[in-house]
Amino acid sequence: MRTVSRGLPLLLAALAVAYPWLAPNYYLVYAGALTVMYAAMSTSWNLLGGFTGYVSLGHSAFFGLGAYGTGLLVVRLDVPWAVALLVSALLVTAFAVGVGIAAVRVRGASFVIVSLALVSMMNLIVQGWRSLTGGSTGLQVPSPFPGLHRGQTHIVFFYLFLVLLALALLSWWYVSRSRFGAGLRAIREDEDKAESLGVPTGAYKVAAFALSALFVALAGGLYALWFGSLDPIFVFSILIASYMVLMSLLGGVRHLYGPLLGALIVAPAGEYFLIALGETQIHLTATGLVLVLVVLFMPDGILARFTRRRAGPSIPDESADQRLQGVAP
């Protein structure tokens, strides 16, 4: 069992690195890059959702801001793309700290409302501020690799997203073993108790919120450079946010590889539906129904159902008191 759980991630990592060369055509490379992008985003969504239990339906706000930030820095200020990507992600993270301070004052359902409002608000601002963002006509971002053709660009971005995914997974793993992670888990079990035991719950929640925004913003920035054209309706869409939630929930929010597994299922399925059913809205219905089914019948996700033993690092089942003892000073 141990060798399996050690060896499997390595094997999968090797497969992932080889994927662009195994894929028979560039379309599948493109679909792969998209899948890895979603995997990175849902893993970073899980930095907040998995540890604290705070469900954000608004993470596409950070995706869109990262995309527009990177795009605007490149287009309006002629900043090199790598610098633009990092600067934009840092700005979005700072913004997330500000929003987090207001957002984490409320719990449960109210927090979800705030996160939803965030997306609508950003969408409104970007569409309204035509002189800067181009409004609803969108923003064109020049390719960072003008020498490459479209298919080669897909390969480059596949690897860039893969690096991002690795960073997100490493962060989740690191946090899960840290005192910070123990504090976040205590917040999920019993926030009042955690606070009375001296866990700085407010600061921890804001930190988790900002950290998870950071990787989503980076994904947004990469997306802007990859696609080359930004449409506010798409990048600030509720659909992207709900994908992150659905993928994490389906795979299992308590597991390191849960969101990744969810992304491997949901993203290709979404692409398939798009091809099979065309541009109708029925894929929304499919997403919605799967979400309803997961919430009703499998709220702990696939990994929890199939492995009582651990499939990679995960948040162990223990009582709230045991967990709180771990964080008490």
């Binding site: 239990g53 469900v55 339906l57 207001a102 957002a103 004052r105 409320v106 719990r107 449960g108 359902a109 109210s110 979800v112 409302i113 705030v114 939803l116 409002a117 609508s120 608000m121 409104l124 601002i125 569409q127 309204g128 509720i238 659909l239 709900s242 939630v245 929930l249 109708t280 809205q281 029925i282 894929h283 929304l284 219905t285 499919a286 997403t287 919605g288 129904l289 799967v290 979400l291 309803v292 919430v295 009703l296 709220p299």
Partner: protein, 293 residues
């Protein structure tokens, strides 16, 4: 400038009445099940589209769709509560119910988009296109009708809640579920009916909406933002708070709409939402229930 402000004020009060009706449904769900029903605006648009279909195929007045949509939505509400919401585990109800109703909202949006396409639809009646002039202020008849219908529905709702035995049982369930059960109220059934009543208000609201504004499937997200801002400012679960916040935000929106522009008018909802959270997370009016949510 003064007449412009008056115009905005009057429009705001009229729209605020409709907002109050729509937010009352959300307060009911929250009251009876502690559930934030994100799918409420999606049902609203479902009602608007049904009204559109009835109007275009039968050529009748949109309000004649109400005898069809209101009972249908009541039954839908009872079904949603019994078959879906009641199945959720109580320990994580708040989050899971949001995700569940979010899934329902996506499902409805997708179906509407598939059957009716994503383009704008509207129902316009000849009597609703004119407006009433009162001392320099123009009040469109459709907005007046919307306000009247909303006011009437709210009045009926309050009468039911205060006078009828069902209303008493519902209020008892909202106040203290266990105690209500102890005195013999079948709280599960009452919660189901409470959901039904909430969705019935969405049926009325959707019909009114079809009359006063063009609609398309994805526009329910804008309404989620607006209605959620209203119930947060008013205090989750407080029907009276929601009504007051609805009129307040309606007026602010109306005034900003005529003095600045539409983007900022919508933005005001989010500004108020965040200000409320910073200053008083439990909401400004009532909102006792919201304290620990």
């Amino acid at each position: 400038m003064v007449s412009l402000l008056l115009q905005g004020l009057a429009l705001g009060v009229l729209t605020g009445g409709l907002y109050a009706l729509l937010a009352s449904g959300l307060s009911l769900y929250f009251g009876v099940m502690r559930v934030v029903m994100v799918a409420h605006p999606a049902f609203l648009f479902l009602a608007a589209y049904l009204t559109y279909t009835v109007h275009t195929t039968l050529g009748v007045d949109p309000f004649l769709a109400l005898p069809l949509t209101v009972p249908l939505f009541f039954a839908l509400g009872v079904a949603v509560q019994r078959l879906l919401i009641a199945r959720l585990a109580p320990d994580n109800l708040a989050m899971m119910s949001v995700l569940l109703t979010f899934g329902i909202a996506l499902t409805i949006e997708g179906l509407l988009g598939t059957f009716y396409t994503g383009s704008y639809k509207s129902v316009s009646m000849e009597y609703a296109t004119r407006s009433l002039s009162l001392g320099g202020v123009h009040l469109p008849y459709d907005k007046i009708i919307a306000f009247a219908v909303a006011g009437l529905t709210l009045a009926v709702l309050f009468a039911v809640l205060v006078k009828s035995r069902f209303g008493q049982a519902l209020r008892a369930t909202i106040q203290h579920r266990e105690a209500a059960r102890l005195v013999g109220i079948r709280t599960e059934r009452v919660a189901g009916y409470g959901f039904g009543v909430g969705l019935a208000t969405a049926a009325v609201g959707g019909t009114v909406l079809a009359l006063i504004t063009p609609f398309f499937p994805a526009s329910h997200w804008v309404w989620i933002g607006k209605l959620m801002a209203i119930i947060v400012v008013g205090g989750l679960g407080s029907v009276v708070g929601a009504a007051l916040a609805a009129v307040l935000l309606g007026v602010v929106e109306g005034v900003v709409l005529v003095t600045v522009d539409a983007t900022w008018a919508t933005m005001m909802f989010y500004v108020f939402l965040f200000l409320t959270l910073l200053a008083r997370p439990q909401g400004f009016f009532g909102g006792r229930l919201a304290h620990r949510f």
